[in-house]
Amino acid sequence: MCKLIRFFYLLIPIHGFRAFLIQKHFAACSVCQKEWGMDQSAKGSFTKPEWIAQEHSLWPQIQEKIHMLGREGIQSGETKKIFLFPRWQWALAGLALLILAGIFLVLDIGLIQRSKKAEVSLALKNPQVNIIHAEIHGKKATPFIYQTSENLYIWFGEINQEED
């Protein structure tokens, strides 16, 4: 529609006069006539087919479905409601779960590898100590071992004879 019509609508509040001006304009303006023609042919494209008017009432089929669904639908109504969320919400929830699972997996693998590395380095730094024989002043002594990640402490104590 050309801009003049819009001006008529905007500026002229009196219906009768506005209609008169629009009619006058329409009769002369080829752009508006073409536009109107297009609208009409577009409208014609959406024609109502004859079978719609001839179609029998859909009520019997609808009634049957209502009865059928009414019997089972009322019972399972609650479970059906769960699936009434939009699909994108389910997709989003799934995606969030996947991301979380991924994060946990990455963290978990990282931790396992770190702890393995720590074990290896500890074993290399602090080799196992086996005490075969310990004596203090010709008497059998007991070894005490305390190991940290950095140091290894070994000391010996005398065994109380009375206890033996």
């Binding site: 297009m38 609208d39 042919s41 577009a42 409208k43 494209s45 959406f46 109502k48 087919p49 079978w51 719609i52 008017a53 179609e55 009432s57 859909l58 009520w59 089929q61 609808i62 009634q63 479905k65 209502i66 669904l69 009414g70 639908g73």
Partner: protein
């Protein structure tokens, strides 16, 4: 009897009162769904389904809204479901390489007569939302606000759909 009275009768347990609503809107909903789907049997299926759904959700219907608009909303959503279903089925059949066989089976003379070439060409030119918006505007005389309510979008978006649909149709009709 107006829609609100019929609905309150239905809500009071008078299932038969719903028949009046079916008979009142059947033709309009059929026309609407046919314009979107372009297939008689599918349009009938979706129309039936829309009425059944509206029956089971009558309690959630807001009496301040127009029943017809509410029914159109349900029908529109069902049409979109149907289109999505069809699209995924087509993708699947294409994958399986059965497309040609199915087309041959569907192609009966009665159907060819009904789905006129012209109509199908128009359908292909517009997407679901454009078709719906234009149908409601031209056939039902709905305002952009009401169409927006049915499509669940903004009024400005509806105006864009209608403009695009008109542009596409214009192009198509000018080519012809």
């Amino acid at each position: 009897m107006d829609d609100k009275n019929i609905i309150s009768r239905c809500l009071m347990g008078d299932g038969e009162a719903f028949e009046m609503l079916v008979n009142r809107y059947q033709s309009q909903i059929l026309h609407f769904t046919w314009n979107i789907l372009g297939d008689k049997e599918e349009a009938k299926d979706v129309t039936q389904d829309s009425f059944v759904r509206s029956y089971f959700h009558l309690q959630s219907y807001d009496p301040n809204r127009s029943f017809k608009t509410w029914l159109y909303t349900i029908a529109y959503n069902r049409c979109m479901d149907k289109i999505r279903e069809k699209q995924s089925r087509t993708r699947f059949t294409k994958k399986m390489g059965n497309e040609q066989r199915l087309i041959r089976r569907r192609d009966n003379p009665e159907k060819r007569l009904e789905d006129s070439e012209h109509y199908l060409l128009i359908l292909k030119k517009l997407n679901g939302k454009e078709r719906t918006a234009l149908t409601l505007k031209l056939n039902e005389g709905y305002l952009s606000r009401e169409i927006a309510e049915i499509l669940g979008c903004k009024e400005s978006t509806v105006r864009v759909y209608i403009l695009n649909a008109k542009r596409k149709l214009k192009k198509f009709l000018e080519k012809k």
